[in-house]
């Protein structure tokens, strides 16, 4: 695979290089994630933003090899976790990492837990998977974990079933499961989308609190820019399977470079500008089956479109120090650079 010019620094925990993943439909692979490269540093909270269908979930599933077996496919790229390429790991090798080094929580807490097993069983299972621990200790530890995620009377909850808990409590249980083995990286795939707004805030607070105690890195996948502003250090903006912008949170909100990001930010209501109509982006994300081969994938909906936008595929290039965008408005998007060597 293509090496990076700068060697990954010691505190890089996960490195994704030119990942291509998608779905096999009637023998043809349609890429939901197309040449995505980024890395996550220790203790960092990386936000991944994008609208529905932009490939953010597929990307996170690819890291854990959790794409649906029949149709999901990773067709290229590397996923380097702590210096080892785990992209081609077997299921057994993956199982030593899943839940132990990398954990994941999902969007839908109502269905993510197995309805016929107790909370305690589902919590202890991850402990038994990765640790030599007695039944009694596992039970005590699961009660302790439930208390840690803010569940009251954990001694009772441990023997209850998922249907007896509310959505917010189930998501807390999911978090308890995810942090049970103190993973180094937590992938949170829209952890608050299905929850009430008040519960959302509690869950985000909990995540941040646990992150600072356990010193883990988080990839926070969301379509909610408010969540990003509140939680993240760095942000990746994805559009139609590609990264269009990458920077830190401050720069993203104060100085967005890519037209898509700019429009996204305009669609957030602002308290001080009452009368203005809320911005929206016309059109839809192109479907997987008719993704343009060449050119910028946002061109159709872009207000700043230029003739070359449909002829040259923009690359993710530096616009400023620490701020990258893939847009032909910026000269670094025209040529090969250290971060992205993909040329059509």
């Amino acid at each position: 695979m293509v090496g990076k010019e700068e060697s990954p620094s010691l505190d890089t925990i996960l490195q994704v290089n030119e990942l291509k993943a998608g779905f096999d439909i009637d023998g043809k692979v349609y890429h939901a994630v197309d040449n995505v490269s980024f890395d996550v540093k220790k203790k960092q909270i990386l936000g991944v933003v994008g609208e529905s269908g932009c490939g953010k979930s597929v990307m996170s599933m690819s890291i854990m090899q959790l794409l649906p077996k029949e149709t999901g496919k990773v067709t290229g790229g590397e996923i380097v976790f702590e210096g080892k390429n785990i992209e081609n790991y077997s299921i057994n090798q993956m199982n030593t990492i899943r839940g132990n080094d990398i954990s994941m929580i999902f969007q839908e807490p109502m269905t993510a837990l197995n309805p016929v097993f107790t909370i305690g069983f589902q919590l202890q299972e991850i402990l038994f998977n990765h640790q030599k621990i007695s039944k009694k200790d596992a039970r005590e530890k699961s009660i302790h974990l439930l208390r840690q995620v803010g569940i009251s009377r954990p001694e009772n909850i441990v023997d209850e079933y998922p249907h007896q808990l509310s959505g917010g409590m189930r998501q807390r249980v999911m978090i308890a499961i995810a942090i049970a083995c103190q993973p180094k990286l937590l992938i949170a795939d829209e952890p608050t989308t299905a929850l009430d707004v008040t519960v959302q805030a509690q869950i985000l607070d909990l995540l941040r609190e646990i992150q600072s105690i356990n010193n883990m890195a988080i990839i926070l996948i969301t379509h909610d820019l408010g969540v990003v502003a509140e939680m993240c250090d760095d942000v990746i903006v994805m559009y139609a399977g590609k990264i269009v912008e990458r920077t830190n949170v401050d720069a993203l909100f104060h100085n967005p470079k890519h037209p898509y990001t700019q429009l996204l930010l305009q669609s957030i209501p602002k308290l001080d500008e009452e009368e203005k109509e809320l911005g929206s982006i016309d059109g839809l994300v192109p479907s997987l089956k008719d993704m343009p081969e060449v050119g910028c994938r946002f061109a159709d909906r872009c207000p700043k479109r230029m003739p070359e936008c449909t002829e040259i595929t923009p690359l993710l290039g530096f616009v400023e120090n620490g701020h990258e965008a893939a847009c032909l408005l910026y000269e670094n998007s025209y040529q090969t650079n250290g971060r992205n060597t993909y040329v059509k």
Partner: protein, 321 residues
């Protein structure tokens, strides 16, 4: 749960009452007379027959006859078999253990094969092995049990001599001895295999489809994300969920296996309830016929109750109060 069970059992009473009307009416509508066994065959004097009719109560209005039957039935007097000359109760007590034994052995066979094949197919759908199992199941479902039974008797009993072809135990063995039980097992195995393997098809395909459906559920993804091995995912997480709909089958099976073994028991001349039922139809043995029908109705209701209680055990979302 006890309260729930009691309520359900009380709820059976009106249903059984309705069933009894149907059963009684059907028996009355059946052509022919049960007199063959009740009157002296050498005496064909019409006056004598009329006298016997009167004595046996066949000239009473139909509702009186019905009430008499029900009253006796509820008190545990199931009537007298005209063919066997013994109380129906004794007759059934004599035959029922054979049928229950056959039912249990065939149910075990069904479960072993269905769970093994269903889990295999569900885990590897659309593979060579899955198609083979599906093919076997459709053939098994399509062959009527009397054909399969006859073929099995021909090969395994007559050609190979592995199994006996009739009866439930070898004549002359003392009950309670080791040889006696071995012989019973030996006799039950072939009919149980026929009955059991016939039942496997629907169980297997149902389990397979449910496993496939459950393997796409979110909780499976969660289990994978926890680092749970694939075999634990299938044998614990998915199986436990896929067992729930199968319990419905178990409820039906309890009655079907007691009554539905009619054909198999007849072919193997296995002295159980099924064979008795068929003989009674032949001989117009109303009392036996009605008792067996009532027994089967009761077992159907009981089977459903057992299934409902099992749901509550297997699926914590169903709380029986």
């Amino acid at each position: 749960m006890l309260q729930y069970s009691l309520r359900r059992i009380l709820g059976m009473i009106p249903l059984l009452f309705l069933t009894s009307i149907v059963v009684f009416s059907l028996a009355k509508f059946m052509p022919g007379d049960p007199f063959g066994g009740e009157i002296d065959p050498s005496n064909t004097n019409p006056e004598y027959i009329e006298e016997m009719r009167e004595k046996l109560g066949y000239n009473d209005p139909i509702h009186i006859q019905y009430i008499r039957w029900v009253t006796n039935f509820v008190q545990g007097d199931f009537g007298h078999s005209t063919a066997h000359k013994i109380p129906v109760f004794d007759l059934i007590v004599d035959r029922l253990p054979n049928t229950i034994f056959l039912a249990i052995v065939s149910l075990i066979i069904t479960y072993i094969f269905a769970f093994a094949m269903g889990m295999y197919s569900g885990r590897r759908p659309y593979t060579w092995g899955d198609n083979l199992i599906a093919g076997y199941n459709y053939v098994g479902l399509a062959i009527p049990s009397f054909v399969a039974g006859i073929i099995a008797i021909y090969f395994f009993s007559f050609q190979l001599g592995w199994f006996p072809f009739a009866g439930s135990v070898e004549v002359g063995l003392q009950p309670g001895t080791w040889d006696y039980y071995v012989s019973r097992m030996h006799h039950v195995l072939l009919p149980a295999l026929i009955l059991g393997l016939m039942g496997t098809a629907s169980y297997t395909q149902f389990l397979r489809n449910d496993v496939i459906e459950n393997s796409r559920k979110d909780f499976v993804r969660t289990a994978r994300a926890k680092g749970t091995s694939e075999s634990a995912i299938y044998n614990k997480h998915i199986l436990r969920n896929s067992m729930i709909p199968l319990i419905t089958f178990l409820g039906f099976d309890i009655a079907t296996l007691i009554g539905g073994a009619v054909i198999t028991e007849t072919i193997f001349t296995y002295p159980g309830i099924g064979l008795l039922f068929l003989e009674s139809v032949d001989r117009r043995d109303y009392a036996v016929l009605m008792t067996i029908t009532m027994l089967l109705s009761f077992l159907t209701l009981l089977g459903n109750l057992i299934a409902d209680l099992l749901y509550g055990i297997v699926d914590p979302r169903i709380r029986l109060g």
